[in-house]
Amino acid sequence: MASSISTAVPAPQQAAVSTQDELTQKIPTQPLQVTKRLEKFKTTIFTQMSSLAIKHGAINLGQGFPNFDGPDFVKEAAIQAIRDGKNQYARGYGVPNLNSAVAERFKKDTGLVVDPEKEVTVTSGCTEAIAATMLGLINPGDEVILFAPFYDSYEATLSMAGAKIKCITLRPPDFSIPIDELKSVVSKNTRAILMNTPHNPTGKMFTQEELNAIASLCIENDLLVFSDEVYDKLAFEMDHISIASLPGMYERTVTMNSLGKTFSLTGWKIGWAIAPPHLTWGVRQAHSFLTFATSTPMQFAAATALRAPDSYYEELRRDYMAKKNILVEGLNSVGFTVFPSSGTYFVVVDHTTFGLENDVAFCEYLIKEVGVVAIPTSVFYLNPEEGKNLVRFTFCKDEETLKSAVERMKQKLSKK
């Protein structure tokens, strides 16, 4: 039973082993919601690939954070807040200035008017918004529908909440929503649908038609929607649509977002959840016991960031589109099958033309022989087999880095 919690760590000494066994006997053997479920969630694939990358001096197009920094005006706002003494506990659900800025931005983006005091909750990144939403609104045994491939924390957080996962797989080339399949998995136990648009890892953006179909389903069956929209400002091929703005949807939607991707400050951990008061209440309760409050100086800076003029967002999109072109052209020329990515800073490709047996093998080969890191997408599926032909590249790197990576692949990657 030691395996129910332990992961690959150095073997403990003799005395400790017997204690570990004694102690783990206290943990029941049946598949309980927490410890047993989390057995498969060991060190994340990202950490593993990053370690391998460092070892081989590979260019990291795996992990989704920039190798350039955030804008000066936001950093300066944080520094000013620290100097002004804003270093103690913020109000649990957010510094009022930030809550207002979030509400203002949401109105600009969706036309929806929300009450910053009752409908906005600030969290330690969107990751915590997701965790608080699950724990605050999902009961053990509730069914939650998920779209694979999915960001890797979704499955683990749903397990923590004791939810039963129903998974719909999105398939290449366009990863569109199979609406009939979606309808077929809805049951009387279904509590919510968890969606992510623009979508990590595929870059797919949910279309108006798809959102309409999901909305009808939710209204008909009285479902909630948890919508992760962290990449909403990285929408290139079409406009981002928040499902909360569809008729009948705001009252049943939790819209989640964060500062990190839009402002290249992924380490600041400022996120938020926007929801009607009766849903916000559950999110806030869970949040207040998960982290109690979010880092104060960064919240002040985030308020400044969110009030950035439209020109900031236009420039952001232009920069990222240029980076995307470099990467996509490179990947195409090397021989990958590149699937169209409408948003985010990710692109998924089919690697099978290079003759490796699966995505993990291909990524290891890519690091060791070519010197470039990608992420094997099988980790984003409930059934890893479904992802074995695909790997994910990111283009949130400066142009030089992208060009170097493309060069390396042109020189060293050969089809089999």
């Binding site: 919690i5 332990s6 760590v9 150095p10 403990p12 570990q20 206290k26 943990i27 309980l32 919601q33 927490v34 410890t35 989390l38 969630f41 994340t44 954070f65 190798n67 920094d69 944080a78 520094i79 620290i82 003494g85 270093n87 103690q88 649990g92 330690s124 990144g125 990751t127 915590e128 965790a131 724990l135 605050g136 609104l137 999902i138 009961n139 053990p140 924390s153 683990a156 923590m160 004791g162 008909e220 009285d222 909630l224 290249s264 400050l265 380490g267 600041w268 951990k269 009766h278 849903l279 309760q285 869970a286 016991f289 998960l290 982290t291 109690f292 409050a293 880092s295 104060t296 100086p297």
Partner: protein, 474 residues
């Protein structure tokens, strides 16, 4: 069910004032919350601080400093932001420092590579620990009174909190009570020392009792040691993990917040044997993924502070403690138990005061412009108590927690305001008795606290006005 709810929604939209429909919708909406969320109530500490804000009261309630954080640490954070330490990071150096400190303070050998998890504050470290070790139905023992969050974290993880009362006036640990609280379902015990709200520092003897119980019953211990560097009168903080046979079954949680006066930075950690630490880490990664990067960097500077920093932290807080204790004594509190650690005084109401803790604090806000925390929020009905009766538990409405993590100016101002109240107060006490007797006798007595307060507030206002005309304010 869905159709009914849809109809209710339509009705509510069409006729907003229709009580039935609105109520129906409210009921339907409440169903969306998880069972745990529905059972929770808003934090009493936060509610009172809203009232205090309205009255612009001096805040001796909330446990965070109103003086600036140390400059060298703020500079380190600024420098980190400027040096582009702004993306997802794990700063291993924090683990190295924490391991070193555990060796220096407690003689413990901790592996910085496997035994330490950096989290968003001790809050998250504790929450992640509960999710790592508590299964549905597991019992977790907590000493009462206790910080409000422990119980809720345990429930969120599916566990059952079991409270063991520390005995007033000195908050002593009763071995029999402790023994009686263990069952086959007990998974862990939570120990907060130095202790919020009492300021108690658990002694070596008490820790040995707790350690013995942990071993006899083969359970885990989770400690909250955030006030580890704030102890007085030459008292040392001893970590439960440092007792023989305890390291392998203890998860220590702590943070930068109280030691370095940066409660808003959210940098904390959990220390545990590798097999538990890795579970805590896996959960932390799914709750927040990482702690704020620039503050992790600044933590390196903080944790490298020289011994002189910790010495002056201790002596500064000791003089603040003395100031707070004197201030309360002058106002009529009889403090049998002086805090030995943390930055709180848990003061019992004077015997002749017939107000409850909540009533007293509301008066304190409105009449003296000072806010503290009524102790009732820290007490929980002790189900394990064989002799629990309303009378036996009446002390739970008799304590007020005052925080002294405030500047000298704040403490001096609070002292002045409190001493003005005390003259009027003696008269107030006897008046209140009369009011209450009258109400009990009245046929229409509807004994609500609010109406009682407004009644004697009026009396107090008259008294204070009378005083004003006689004395000039300084």
């Amino acid at each position: 069910m869905a159709a009914v709810q849809w109809k209710l929604k339509q009705a509510a939209d069409d006729k907003f004032c229709n009580d039935n429909a609105a109520e129906g919708r409210r009921m339907a909406e409440m169903e969306k919350l998880s069972l745990v969320a529905k059972a929770l109530t808003p934090s009493p500490i936060q509610q009172l601080s809203y009232l205090a804000q309205r009255y612009n009261a001096i805040n001796l309630a909330e446990g965070f400093p109103d003086f600036p954080a140390p400059p060298h640490i703020k500079n380190a954070a600024v420098s980190a932001i400027n040096s582009d330490f702004n993306q997802y990071r794990h700063v291993q150096g924090i683990c190295d420092h924490v391991a070193r400190k555990m060796k220096e303070m407690h003689g413990l050998d901790v592996d910085p590579l496997t035994d330490i998890v950096i989290c968003c504050g001790q809050s998250e470290a504790f929450a992640a620990t509960m999710f790592a070790i508590v299964d549905q139905g597991d019992e977790v023992i907590i000493f009462d009174p206790s910080y409000e969050t422990y119980e809720t974290c345990i429930r969120l993880a599916g566990g059952v909190p079991v409270h063991v009362a520390l005995e007033p006036p000195n908050w002593t640990l009763n071995l029999d009570k402790l023994k009686k609280s263990f069952t086959v379902k007990t998974k862990a015990i939570v120990l907060n020392s130095p202790h919020n709200p009492t300021g108690k520092v658990f002694t070596k003897d008490e820790l040995e009792i707790i350690a013995g119980a942990c071993q006899t019953w083969n359970i885990l211990a989770v400690t909250d040691e955030v006030y580890e560097h704030i102890t007085f009168d030459k008292e040392s903080h001893i970590s439960l993990a440092s007792l023989p046979e305890m390291q392998k079954r203890t998860i220590v949680t702590s943070s930068l917040s109280k030691t370095f006066s940066v409660t808003g930075w959210r940098i904390g950690w959990a220390i545990a044997p590798a097999w538990i630490a890795s579970a805590v880490r896996n959960i932390h990664i799914r709750i927040t993924d990482s702690a704020p990067a620039p503050f992790q960097e600044a933590a390196l500077t903080a944790l490298s502070s020289p011994p002189a920093y910790f010495d002056s932290l201790r002596s500064d807080y000791e003089s603040k403690r003395d100031c707070a204790v004197n201030m309360l004594a002058e106002v009529g509190f009889k403090l049998q138990f002086k805090p030995k650690g943390s930055f709180f005084v848990f003061a019992p109401l004077p015997e002749n005061c017939t107000l409850s803790d909540v009533e007293f604090v509301e008066e304190l806000i409105k009449q003296a412009g000072v806010v503290a925390v009524p102790g009732c929020g820290f007490f929980h009905t002790t189900l394990c108590e064989e002799n629990s009766s309303p009378a036996a538990l009446s002390y739970q409405r008799r304590y007020i927690r005052f925080a002294f993590c405030k500047s000298e100016d704040t403490l001096a101002a609070a002292s002045r305001k409190l001493s003005k109240l005390v003259d009027a107060y003696a008269i107030l006490v006897s008046r209140v008795r009369a009011i209450r007797l009258g109400r009990l006798v009245s046929k229409n007595s509807c004994f609500k606290v609010n109406s009682l307060i407004s009644c004697y507030v009026a009396h107090l206002a008259i008294l204070l006005l009378a005083q004003k005309s006689e004395h000039s304010f300084k």
